[in-house]
Structure formats: C-alpha cells, structure tokens
Amino acid sequence: MAEAAHSAHEGDTTRRDFIYIAAGSVAAVGVAATAWPFIDQMNPAADTRALSTTEVDLSAIPEGQQIKAMWQGKPVFVRHRTPEEIAAAQRDDYANLKDPQHDADRLVQEDGQPGKAEWLILQASCTHLGCIPTFAEGAYHGWFCPCHGSVYDTSGRIRSGPAPKNLYVAPYVFTNDTTIRIG
C-alpha cells in the first residue's frame, strides 16, 4: 500500500491505474454495445430496404403521357416523350440554363449505359422545397411546380423559378425493352 502510494506520487503507472483504465474501457465498450441495438433499430428495416427497387412496365404508358411510380415511398416520373418533346429538349441543350446539363446525360442508366430518348425517369420532387410538379404545364411543357412557380422543360431542367437544380434523375436500368427497374 505504502509502495503504491509512493509510486503514484512519483507519477509512475501503477497496477491500480491499469485496473481503472481496463475496467473503464470494458464499461465503455459495454455501454456502446448495449446502446447500439437501440439506436440501430431505428434505421430502415429489411422489409423497407427490400422495397428500395421498383419495376415499371413501360408498355402501358402511351406516347406523350407519364405515370408516377412509387419508389421508396416517393413518386418517380416515368415519361414517354413525343418526338417534339425530345427535339425541344435536345435543342435547348445549349440554351441559357441555370443548371446546365445535356438531355442525353439525363437519360443515362444507373450502369452507365445510354438511355432511350423517349423515356425520361425523374424523381418527382421539386428541388426547391420538395413539392410534386404538375405534368406538361408551364412555358416549356415539361413540369410546373404549383408551390413556388418553378418551371421545368421536357428534360426536367429548371428553366425559371426559385428551384436551384434540375429535377434529379432516378437511378434506373432497362431490364428488357419494355421494363425498367428503379433503384
């Protein structure tokens, strides 16, 4: 005992210090290991994550129309563009854009393959505050956001209004000629 006190006085590491640190470490790991399941249980569950991809049958969508597919609980625009809409989108590649991007780059599939010009797959959420834009309205006949008046063109690019970015492209791949998988 006297020896231990003496050592501590000298500032040396004693066996007691080691025991304190070791016990503290075990307790800290124990607390973390106990807390983690209670924290992690709030993350998306396996069945929720299983819903993270959605298949869409394109054959049911006539030219000039779009559907809203649900992906991860959020709507996705799947738009079957007309040749005029495609031409307008491609022509405006060089227009004065807020968030410049070429139409072809907005069609690229998740695996890097080029997409098909008639199918545009976008997340249906205005990049301003997350409202859902309405179909084929606004000066560019793309989308129009009723909340604060953002106007998107037929490529989903922001053309006027408060939104900072183009509508985000949803990650998708063609699984065959008439089916896509989103996510």
Partner: protein
C-alpha cells in the same frame, strides 16, 4: 431560500407518515409555506397555467391513445372516428389539439416575462436553461403530435422537417433515413412518432420537476429584480400566490374553452382535413402558428454563404436561434436584472418582441410575395411587320468557336440591312439565324404588378400581333423589390443582433435608472 421546514403534522396519521415518507412536508414547504416576493405581478402566473397545460395534454393524450391507430391507412380515419363516434371524443380531441396552442401561448408569455425581468441572471442560469430544455422538448412533442392525424399538412410538414436534416453535409441523408425509418415518411415513421409523442411529455414532466426544484432553490425573481432581503419582502405561497394563480388560470381556461367550444379548428390548417397523399403536395406547406417564426428564419436565406448553401444556412440559423437562448445568461452582461430600470434595453426589447411577431407573420406568407417595389414589372416588345425574312444556317468548326461563328453571322446579316436577327442553337456546332430586312419596326411597352400579370400582358400582345409576324423580341425588366424573404432576413438579423451584440454591449455601457428610494431603502436598509 425556503429555510428550515415549518411543517407540523397535526394528526396521528400524518405524524406516522412524516416519520416514514415526508411527502406532506415537501408539499407544505413547496406550495404552502414557500415564501414568494410580495411584489409579483400577473406575468408571474403563467407557470401555474403551464403546469395545468401539461396535465391536460397528458390526460387527454392518454385517452386519445386508446382510440388512435398509428397506421398510415387508419390514422386519419381513427381521428375522424374519435371526432364523430367515440363518446365525448370530439371534446377530448379538441381539448388536446387546442391545448397544444394554449400551451405554446402560455410558454411564450412566460419566456418573454423571463427575458424582460432578467430572470435568467445569476443565480437562476440553470433555471432558465432547464426552461429552454422544456421548450425544446415541447417543440419536438408538438411537431411529432402534429404528424399523427396523418392529414396533408401532417405528412408534408414531416417531410419538409425531416428533409431539413438532409441538408446537413455528409451525415444528413443517413440521419434523415434513421429518423424516418425508411426513405420517405411512411409506416415506420408514424409508428415511432407515436411512440415518442407518448414518451416526451413524461420527459417534460421530469424536467419540469427539476425546473421547479431550481426555482425553489434560487427563489423567485420579481418585477424590480432586486433579491428579497428579509421575511418582510415575502408572503407565504398559500394563500397569496395560490389564489392569484387560480384567478389568472381561470381567465386562461375561459380563453381555452372559447377555442375548444366555439372555434376548435381555427388554429389548425384546413389542408389537414385532407388525408395524407404522398403523390400530391398542398399549395403551401406551413407549420402550426407557434413554429412560424422559426420557419421564417429557416426560409430567410435565398443565397449561398461561401461553402454553405442557402438551404443549410437556413437550417443552421433556425437551430442557432433556439441555441442562442441557452447562452443568454452569459450574453447579457448587465448587472441590473429588470428592464424596468434599463431604459435603453427596454426599447430594444420592445423591438425584439415586434420582430418575433413579424417573423411569425413572415412564416405564414408565401416567401416570394413582394412587399414593396420601386416600379412595376415591365417589358419592351419589338417586332417587325412586313419586310423580307431570311434564314441561314450557322456552322462552327468546333464547340468553343460557336460564339464567334454566331456573332459573325449576325454581323453579316446586319450589314445586309437586317433590322432584327435571332440565333437559335441546335447542337454543339450548328444553329440557325433568322433575320428580317426592311419592314416597319414596332415597339410597345407593357407593365404589370407581378411577373405573372406581366406575362399575361405579353401573351395578349403576342396574340394581338399574330403569330405570322416572324420577329418578336421581348426584353423584360424586373424592378428592385423587397419580398417576404428579404424581410425575414432583416428580422433574422435583428433577432441575432439582439442576443449576440445588443445585450452584451449594452450591459456594459447602459446607465440604469435609479431605483426609487421607496424600494431601495427598505431593501438595502439604507446602506447605499
């Protein structure tokens, strides 16, 4: 503060109890014998109302939970069933919904009271901070509760608020998914929000216990802000404060009842009577009235500040606006507690209160709404009637030389006498130029109060002129204007200025007013 206990058990039973669990002694010392300053005014009665509000919310909430179904397909219907089918469900549901608003009304008055009379200054710093914790928990509980009826505002409010966290760099997306339990607001979200909404009021009750404990340790502040010095400055809590609190609370309950029985839905939003629809957003997403000032701060930034984008700046400012309250005891450097004796601080305080109301107003407005503008929106339109139209294609040798090629084509056509030209780019290196030679040049100026009206006028002129006219050039000019967003930014600036600059600097510089002798003499026993 309260000194040694004066409780004396009278009967055999209370004597028996007092030896074993002195709970009656605690109650007596806290709510009967407890000395309160004799000069407290009615601003000091809101603590009692807040206790009542908490009890009312817990009691009605427990009843509502017996009928509510936390499921995306049934939540909305279960609340409607409560309103229509459950015996007295309409009453209990309305009390709970209105109660949230009344709770916040009382807490805001309580907070402004503390701010005005300097109730956060030593030795009451922890008392104030515990109050801030309670307020933060109230905001969280109110937000979670508003999601549960699963109407349109519930759903989209929750979406907007959880998206805010997504604005945080790197970890934002993970935190957002962790909080909602999925990739959007959905079944896992409503389930956990219900669980937490049930939990948090009991946490609040616990912190209220600490708040009252801290209050009884430090003693109450009072309107003159001078510590009570002797028993002569105080009166026992019962009957003096008890009766006064009871009277004020009765008036408060009357107001409460007016809302519950005559206009239960007036404080809510009509859109929340539409079931949540993830496929359609309401035209305007607004929180409940008590969160509007913070919503205005959130939307005040429409520009990026260096690496911080506008969205993140808003999120940080909103959290900072509550965070700054926790630091208030050390930000205010004045040694004088009550603003009664701080003539300059009092004026800044009044401005601050007005700013808070104005922020609330801004939070409820469309952020793009124009408040003032120097001139109307106007547009100058030029077109040519008659004349000869020429169209040519432009080819550039490479993408980078496009602009030169286009300029050259314009210059060439102009030199041939074209009054107007237009270039359309069709690809990386190709495009088209159209020009009109000769003809009559026409000009017209239109104006409108809003940009939408202006566009309408332009369309009218276009239709009048006719699509056959090959050229139609529109030059729009937008006037300098002051929008709700600009106003919010100005108010936000003052909000932070008040806490971070005015209070620290003023406390050191201000010359307080003299405390009247009638107060100073008896308190200091003529020492100064």
């Amino acid at each position: 503060m309260s000194g040694p206990s004066t409780y004396e058990p009278k009967s055999g039973i209370t004597r028996w109890l007092d030896r074993r669990l002195p709970i009656l002694r605690l109650a007596h010392d806290s709510f009967v014998a407890y000395p309160t300053p004799r000069n407290l005014n009615y601003w000091w009665t809101f603590g009692a109302m807040l206790s009542l509000c908490l009890i009312v919310q817990i009691v009605t909430g427990i009843v509502l939970a017996m009928h509510y179904v936390p499921h995306i397909d049934h939540a909305f219907a279960s609340v409607q069933r409560l309103e229509r089918d459950v015996p007295f469900g309409w009453l209990i549901q309305n009390i709970h919904a209105v109660g949230a608003s009344m709770f916040f009304l009382a807490v805001y008055i309580h907070m402004f009271r503390g701010l005005y009379y300097g109730s956060y200054k030593a030795p009451r710093e922890l008392l104030w901070i515990l109050g801030c914790v309670i307020y933060l928990l109230m905001v969280a509980t109110g937000f979670l509760g508003y999601t549960l009826p699963w109407g349109q505002m519930s759903f989209w409010g929750a979406t907007v608020i959880t998206n805010l966290l997504g604005a945080l760099p790197l970890i934002g997306e993970s935190i957002k998914n962790w909080l909602s339990g999925g990739f959007s607001i959905d079944q896992p979200t409503i389930n956990r929000f219900f669980s937490l909404h049930y939990l948090l009021p009991f946490v609040i009750a616990g912190v209220v216990g600490l708040h009252v404990w801290a209050l009884h340790e430090a003693g109450q502040n009072n309107p003159v802000g001078i510590e009570v010095k002797s028993k002569a400055d105080t009166v026992p809590f019962t009957p003096h404060a008890t009766i006064k609190d009871l009277f004020a609370t009765t008036l408060f309950v009357i107001l409460f009842a007016v809302f519950v029985f005559y206009m239960p839905d007036s404080l809510g939003h009509a859109d929340n009577f539409i079931p949540a629809n993830p496929l359609q957003t309401p035209p305007e997403i607004v929180p409940e009235w008590y969160l509007l000032p913070f919503y205005a701060i959130l939307r005040a930034f429409d520009f990026n500040i260096g690496p911080i984008d506008s969205k993140l700046a808003g999120v940080l400012a909103m959290f900072a606006s509550i965070g700054v309250m926790f630091l208030l005891p050390w930000l205010d450097t004045s040694r004088v507690r009550s603003m009664r004796y701080r003539p300059i601080a009092r004026q800044f305080f009044v401005i601050f209160a007005v700013v808070c109301f104005a922020l609330g107003w801004c939070g409820g407005q469309n952020p793009g709404r124009i408040l003032f503008k120097v001139a109307p929106f106007s547009a100058t339109m030029n077109w040519v009637t008659g004349g000869q139209v020429t169209e040519r294609s432009i080819r550039a040798t490479s993408e980078s030389e496009w602009q030169q090629a286009a300029d050259a084509a314009v210059a060439e056509l102009r030199s041939q006498g074209a009054g107007m030209t237009a270039v359309t780019r069709e690809g990386a290196t190709s495009g088209r130029i159209t020009g009109v030679i000769g003809g009559n040049q026409q000009t017209r100026v239109v104006s409108g109060d809003t940009s939408e009206l202006l566009e309408e006028h332009i369309t009218e002129v276009k239709q009048e002129v006719g699509p056959a006219t090959p050229f139609f050039a529109v030059e729009r000019s937008s006037p300098a204007r002051f929008t709700v967003t600009n106003f919010s930014l100005l108010l936000t600036f003052y909000y932070f200025l008040f806490f971070l600059v005015i209070l620290p600097v003023l406390g050191l510089r201000e010359r307080p007013e003299r405390v009247p002798d009638t107060i100073a003499k008896p308190v200091t026993q003529g020492a100064s």
